[in-house]
């Protein structure tokens, strides 16, 4: 009895074992991932390094959205707004105040957390589709606000703000694209580990409990309103950090980069990666960045249509997202392994 208990508390829950990698699998995947990530900046051209950096940045933004929608069950069609606020926080700090890019991420994180939390408070009153609508309004409003003459002095109006790409520190032999790649990966690791810890903790269980049954969650002593608005804040924090990283990577911000289209792109990334999946958001980031390019490659005139077809195919082929598909394949493999092992 005791033995079983200690073993099982350490292993992943069977709800996941049913479909997820065994620990050995995980280690292999993890090591492979590190090796691939570490070689990328030395074997690929700068442009591709830049693109992968962007994909990872989108992945972080999608991770933020997933904490909110996937784990806590609150919809948002307005995460482009938090991305924009993060990006502008970074750009204004660097351009207007000459502050080092290092400080832009914590600042963007704080600003977006507060903004998200404050937005989440009144949004508590809204049920699903109304919340989607309210966040949509936010997405529509933000580019306009950024252009407005009231804040033009700081935001640069329609022109936006150009910033200088940071160079590698400590005389590291990396060009700025390589360094930004490394920097983004480091930040991403911190953000992903944090999200993973959170989701697997008492707080994370409370978030999922609220999504599954808010009344029961509150009967279990969970302060549903507080957790929901804090989750909004944390979600905005993640997406805002991504926005700040995006500003550094592109070294330019302008209102029209943060339209409703970006919000939809993040939502698409969330769904194709897998709702309530942390690792799936990486696939989501890659999808959001590369699939429109691929679609354009097929046919310039019909890029939108091709994109639509690809999206439909992906949804039909992977109804539970990339994460769901991987889970399915691994569980099949594990079952086969067991069957042949016997």
């Amino acid at each position: 009895m005791m033995l079983r208990r200690t073993i099982e508390t350490r292993g992943p829950p069977a709800a996941e074992v049913a479909g997820m990698a065994t620990p050995a699998w995980r280690v292999i995947v993890f090591v492979l991932g590190i090796v691939v990530l570490a070689t990328i900046p030395f074997v690929l051209k700068n442009f591709y390094i830049f693109q992968i950096t962007l994909a990872v940045i989108y992945a972080i933004a999608i991770l933020g959205l997933n904490l909110l929608t996937g784990f806590n069950g609150q919809f948002s069609l307005g995460h482009s707004a938090f991305y924009a606020i993060g990006a502008y926080t970074a750009a204004i700090m660097m351009d207007g105040f000459d502050i080092s890019y290092i400080w832009t991420l914590p600042a963007a994180a704080m600003v977006c957390f507060v903004f998200g939390f404050l937005f989440g408070l009144p949004a508590l009153r809204l049920e699903n589709i109304y919340l989607a609508l309210a966040t949509f309004a936010l997405a529509i409003a933000i580019p306009q606000v950024l252009k407005s003459s009231l804040v033009e002095h700081w935001t640069g109006g329609v022109q936006g703000i150009s910033i200088i790409k940071p160079d590698a520190p400590f005389g590291l032999p990396l060009n700025s694209d390589q360094w930004l790649y490394v920097y983004t990966i480091l930040v991403a690791v911190v953000m992903y580990v944090g999200a993973h810890n959170l989701v697997k903790s008492r707080t994370g269980r409370a978030l999922i409990a609220i999504r599954d049954h808010p009344i029961a969650a509150s009967a279990m002593g969970i302060n549903v309103s507080l957790y929901k608005s804090l989750t909004f804040g944390v979600s905005a924090l993640y997406t805002g950090v991504a926005g700040a990283l995006g500003a550094l990577a592109i070294s330019f911000v302008a209102p029209d980069s943060f339209t409703f289209q970006l919000a939809v792109a993040l939502f698409v990334g969330l769904v194709v990666g897998g709702v309530a999946s942390i690792s799936g958001t990486l696939f989501g980031g890659l999808f959001v960045l590369f699939v429109p390019n691929i679609a354009e490659h097929f046919s310039k005139g019909l890029a939108g249509a091709v994109y639509g077809v690809i999206l439909l195919l992906v949804i039909y082929l992977m109804p539970t997202g990339a994460a769901g598909l991987v889970r399915l394949i691994v569980s099949r493999l594990v079952q086969q392994g067991r069957a042949s092992g016997r």
């Binding site: 069977a14 810890n197 008492r202 707080t203 599954d212 009967a219 002593g221």
Partner: protein, 276 residues
């Protein structure tokens, strides 16, 4: 955190009653209205610590409504509910579990996508102190907290014989097992008072037999005071210390199971029509 003593020390109930002058719960003239419907009409009763009170009455009598007042989902238009001598009506719904009131729901209210273990661990939420930041950083004390919450959960999972399915999604389990998960979840915050809303509903005969036994054990071994809403008369009559009967929101009888069973009004309102 230590597991509750496996062997309960039997304090003679009469002596226990004498020691604690104030009852654990004191329901005073509680009235609840929904538009024109009077769901509870000046209902009063008390329940001493470690007793098992059966709350009976036909469908629509107001039993669940009373539980929802305890859970602060509904607020009485008048009257008060005291728990350990203090009114609970000024507390928000999420501050009920932490004073020691746990409940199950008439229609299952489990966290469907979560495993049995996770459901039970959510039940112990009030025992933890961790928050977003400390959990995201996985600070050492949160790791210890996780361990102690897991220990509590495992002890209950063993108590309710759910070990085999601990890592399964609750939605995939048979109904009877889901009901046990709810019970485990309700016990996970170590409540002093347990509100059980039709725990036998939907169970088969063998399961019901085991359930009556289990409820008694929860009271005796875990020293939990229990308020039991149940239609299954033979179970109520065999395990309860006291029974309160409601009909159309009014208390129509109160007393020992035998007394209530003989009561004319009860027979008319309830036993006469849906005798089991």
């Amino acid at each position: 955190m230590s597991a509750p003593a496996a062997v309960a020390i039997e304090v003679p109930r009469a002596a226990a009653r004498a020691m604690t002058a104030a009852p654990l719960i004191d329901v005073r003239d509680v009235c609840v209205r929904f538009g024109g419907i009077v769901a509870l009409d000046c209902v009063s009763f008390t329940l001493p610590e470690r007793e098992l009170l059966g709350l009976i009455g036909p469908n629509g009598a107001g039993k669940t409504t009373l539980f929802n007042c305890f859970s602060r989902l509904y607020t009485p238009v008048s009257g008060d509910i005291l728990f350990e001598g203090q009114s609970i009506l000024s507390r928000p719904p999420h501050r009920i579990a932490d004073i020691g009131i746990g409940r199950t729901f008439q229609n299952l209210a489990l966290f469907r996508t979560m495993s049995v273990l996770d459901n039970v661990r959510v039940g112990s939420h009030p025992l933890g102190r961790s928050d977003f930041l400390s959990n995201a950083l996985k600070l050492p004390w949160t790791v210890r907290e996780e361990k102690s919450l897991a220990d509590i959960a495992w002890e209950l999972i063993d108590f309710l014989d759910l070990g085999e399915v601990a890592h399964r999604r609750v939605a995939d389990l048979p109904f009877g097992m889901q009901k046990r998960v709810e019970l485990a979840r309700a016990l996970a915050a170590r409540p002093k008072l347990l509100l059980l809303d039709e725990p036998a509903g939907g169970l088969n005969h063998t399961e019901i037999h085991g359930l009556g036994e289990l409820i008694r054990r929860i009271r005796d071994e875990r020293r939990v005071t229990i308020l039991l809403v149940e239609h299954h008369m033979s179970m109520v009559m065999s395990i309860c210390d006291k029974v309160v009967a409601l009909d159309f929101g009014k208390k129509i009888a109160e007393g020992t199971p035998a007394e209530v069973q003989r009561n004319e009004d009860v027979i008319l309102a309830y036993l006469g029509t849906t005798k089991k």
